[in-house]
Symmetry: C2
Subunit: 334 residues, 2 copies
């Protein structure tokens, strides 16, 4: 017999749901009107430009129904925050469009809202507006984040120059491996490694503090969401340069090394897996010390992994500087 606590709680109607779960998330945002009006009002910040990003998280595409509701909400928010981080922007408010089939009950929705509450505090942003709809399809969480960047300080994709070094934050390939563990039943040696990789899949860590420090240091930057090689390919294309990555320098976590080993194929797999949400960026070599100092200050691991040269495209090089063939450079949405 189920205990009363574990029973599915019936979901209230739309307006009660908004008042109970979502209005509290807008506390402190005067222009959210406690979610009782039709729009959100935002006062611009003097000397700053607005930075906007919209991003959808779709059940069975970007998350699994078995994922905890709190991390589903947090992943949706953090993916959008990660884009702001890579551009040197700071989040302010966000809008939420939530399409709900019938299966998420009130327990699920409470955990979803609690996940957002936790992250709002952590990343200093708040809900300004949104809407909920019924859908016959998968849970679809669309977050639109509004942030600020000092006038002229946005870090674009198109500023990489031959001679620049290439850097990446954190470790690469963990989330892709975590997804594999959840869906393919791969079993690494230790439960701790498994837990770590799955948590990296479920909960990316937007590098907002590092991103702010990179203003004026990075020549080009983006967040790694589709795969390190695929995303650096976008920088190469926008900047009209070639980017070479040394496979041996691609940062891998202990857990991932335990699962995949130190060999070239494991590194190539890491460099083409999705969902990392780390910042990949380029900068003149002369700024390497300042960058490592910024990394230290913000408590973020940053690794130099390659270089910008003239030409086009992106290559992953082995120890003899020969390109490693990869079946695909990253995830494509379709």
């Amino acid at each position: 017999m189920k205990s009363p606590d574990s029973e599915a709680k019936v979901r209230p109607g739309e307006f009660e749901l908004i008042a109970k779960l979502f209005a509290p998330l807008s506390r402190g945002v005067s222009g959210a009107f406690a979610l009782t009006d039709d729009v959100a009002l935002l006062e611009p910040k003097p000397g700053h430009e607005l930075v906007l990003k919209t991003d959808s998280l779709i059940e069975s595409v970007h998350f699994l129904r078995s994922d905890p509701a709190g991390t589903v909400a947090q992943k949706a928010l953090r993916r959008a925050l990660s884009d702001l981080a890579a551009k040197g922007a700071e989040p302010s408010v966000y809008l939420l469009a939530l399409a709900l089939p019938s299966w998420p009950d009130m327990n699920w929705l409470e955990a979803f809202a609690a996940g957002l509450a936790e992250d709002q505090e952590r990343f200093e942003c708040a809900l300004a507006g949104g809407e909920t709809n019924a859908t016959p399809g998968p849970v679809t969480v669309t977050i639109t984040v509004v942030g600020y960047v000092p006038q002229g300080a946005l870090i674009r994709r198109n500023g990489a120059t031959p001679g620049d070094s290439v850097f990446v934050s954190g470790t690469i390939g963990d989330a892709g491996a975590g997804l594999g563990l959840l869906t393919n039943g791969d079993t690494p040696a230790r439960a701790a490694a498994r837990d770590f990789l799955i948590s990296r899949y479920r909960l990316p860590d937007p590098r907002l503090e590092l991103g702010r420090e990179l203003r004026g240091l990075a020549s080009a930057s983006l967040d790694v969401s589709d795969g390190l090689l695929a995303d650096l390919g976008h920088v190469a294309e926008a900047s009209q340069v070639r980017i070479e990555i040394d496979a041996a320098r691609v940062p891998m976590s202990d857990a991932l090394r335990e699962l995949r080993g130190e060999g070239t194929s494991g590194r190539a797999r890491a460099a083409t897996a999705g969902d990392d949400y780390e910042i990949a960026f380029t900068a003149p070599r002369s700024r390497a010390d300042a960058i490592l100092e910024a990394a230290r200050r913000t408590g973020t691991q940053v690794t130099e992994i390659g270089r910008v040269v003239s030409g086009g495209g992106v290559a992953l090089l082995d120890g003899s500087c020969n390109p490693i063939q990869v079946p695909r450079q990253g995830y494509t949405h379709f």
Copy 2:
């Protein structure tokens, strides 16, 4: 045998799709970076506040798969624009999150983008960013509109005062009847009436020009999307007043009268149907002339339909001032 023109065109990959169909929609928006960067950058407008609205249009919930792709796109955009209109705001840019199952082919997507292109010109706004995703579910179009309102000029829901009159733009109940014609097979007398009602379902007309004129005139305003009574109920609640609507004064189109007659039940049905996207607003009686002048100037029909009194809730009154019982005041999302 099918002619080559009628054959399904294969959909290209994500990046080609964005470059071919969506990047042209961002022309003229420098901060859209031709959709080749991760975020959109927006310069605030001096003396103005930003107005934000996010809204999802979901296949089989808000539109039918048989609806033309161009009007699907336009309905998605216009629903969000309608909210801005009711608040006295002017649109600037929008973001698009498009979740696509496999069925929409390139013809569908081209028509979808062409619909947006047409509306961007008509309503003076442009695409600033977005993303596309595969989904195992219905087509889901989430639009986030960013607009401006002069500092302090936003028209809220909470300003209605006893003694105010209640007004509504356009005609009410057409879209609900149009949906009924498409799904229930109701057949009104004339094809022209049928076409008109279906077009009102597929293509709302956001009253942006009227909305701008209502700044400083309306005491409270919102767009009618869930049903005239339901939405005026929100104004009553936010303003802590009672709103009385005279059923006989609810504006009905010739086509709807042809379908439903002049009786009370037809009017009650119109006042509780969804998808009107007209502006319902309140204003002191002394401003009635100025309001009708603004209506004339913007070529918009505006009808005085009732009054604000003290108390709570909303009522639809018959010719003897008795409340008409309605099964529900409007559409609820779940």
